[in-house]
Amino acid sequence: MTLGILLRKELVEQWRTMRMPSLLVVFLFIGIASPASARYMPKLMEAIGGPTFAAAFPTPTILDAYAQLAKNIAQLGALVVVVISMAAVSSERDRGTLAFLLSKPVGRGAFLAGKLAGLGATIALGMLAAAVAAYLYTGLLFAPPGPAFGLLCFASFLCLLVFATITLAASVITGSAVAAGGTGLGALVIFGVVSMLPNVGVYTPAGAVTRAVEVVSGAGADSLIAPLLAQVAFVAVAFAAALATFRHQEI
């Protein structure tokens, strides 16, 4: 019950402090722009560099729309998630509201779980906005996406949740929004680099999303299970680290 109360508080806070509306606008943009940019990129290149330049670009397919969506979510989407997560705990501490909440019968685990649930719900709403927009525009510009499109969206959501949890943990451990933001961006860069490595790259957030694109393109769905479980493990480890630290912190 306490978790539900804290989740509601988090959602109202994210709405009123404009974090949720900002995220929704960005994700809506990603959902619209991804299939559109995939569809019109050759024409754009033709306008810039002429017909010879445009010939280098193959005729876009629905798979390009998926790949563009995955790339935008894993980069721009993850960046926005880091920004909305970076002050999650440190701002409560700086504002003095942490003492108000934790002097109530609210366990520290419930407090952090409420934070993560709030971020997760906001990201899910953002992902839903992006998915609906991408579904409609992909259907309009290419063909209606198949059921596997849902798998791509779910993998993208998990990828974003990893960055949210890492940034949340950094917000707890460092007690600074700036340091938390830096850690989140650092994770984005490091995971980005590792995602290009063979064998291990697929277990990074970006690697898992790329694998999801391959599944949507026809690869076996089984190959996505391990990468998705890896994302769940990242979330669990980051949350456990945050909780272990938070339990011993003084307010």
């Binding site: 306490t2 109360i5 508080k9 109202v12 806070e13 009123r16 402090t17 504002r95 003095g96 509201t97 003492a99 108000f100 909440l101 934790l102 002097s103 109530k104 019968p105 609210v106 366990g107 011993h248 003084e250 307010i251």
Partner: protein, 317 residues
Amino acid sequence: MTAPPPAIECRALAKSYGEVRALRGLDLSVPAGSIFGLLGPNGAGKTTLLRLLTGLRRATAGTARIEGEPVGPETARSIGYLDQDPRFYPWMTGLELLRLSGSLCGLRGSALRAGVDHAIDIAGLAEFVRRRIAGYSGGMRQRLGIAQSIVHDPRILLLDEPVSSLDPEGRHDVLEVLARLRGTSTVVVSTHILGDVERVCDRVAILDHGALIVESEKEALLERYATPVYEVEFAGADAAAADRVTELIRARPWATSVTRAGSLLRIATSGTDGAGVELFALLANAQYPVERFERSRPSLEDVFLRLLARPGSASGS
């Protein structure tokens, strides 16, 4: 039949921040139903003690118990806490904050509504409870802080400087609230305003440098340290002459505390026989006009200054 445990019990409670020892093995027992004044100068350890009792901080050594239970998430249900500088979510309205506070303490439905209405009424919040907290003044925030601490009708209230940013009317209202809680809730009030403590508290503890100096019923404390206090009101307007008389009195060995506010001189004595007679003679010899000379009851402030033996306690103000 065993006696109920005290509302709050600390045994050898210690807290250090690095080299700084904020609490030094504090033994303290707060009886249920009392209004307990926690006094002490800045840095005495009052806020640290209250934060340890809420579980916001952890003791370095010793134990703290609330109604017999070690401090933890479960004891938080019995407690209402007001921070020294209460801060709340600026994007919420006061009403939303009170509902959140009540919900987190387990109130639902009609019990929540009744608790919120009662808290609004007690704290005098009705006029601005629907406004966003971002626009609240310090006094409004303090009232909201008091309301959120009592919304779930806690058995124990821990109030850290509850009247520090209130105007005189607000202070009066809050003290009335505390007085009304006598016998039903245990209230621990940390404050610098000794007059307020004297007015509402029935027990008092004085802390200094993290150690308990004294803990007693207020009346017993006043009785125990009831050395005579004299008040002299000068009639003349010659400030330099008044200063000379003040210095003469201050030089006497029996004058433990001499404070001056304008034309009013307050002299606490060590209880030596004949101090009053000698003081009277000193005033007569000084030939400075005196409007009033009175032996009065010592106040808590006199006791406080005497117990702490602050260097400033013997200086005029």
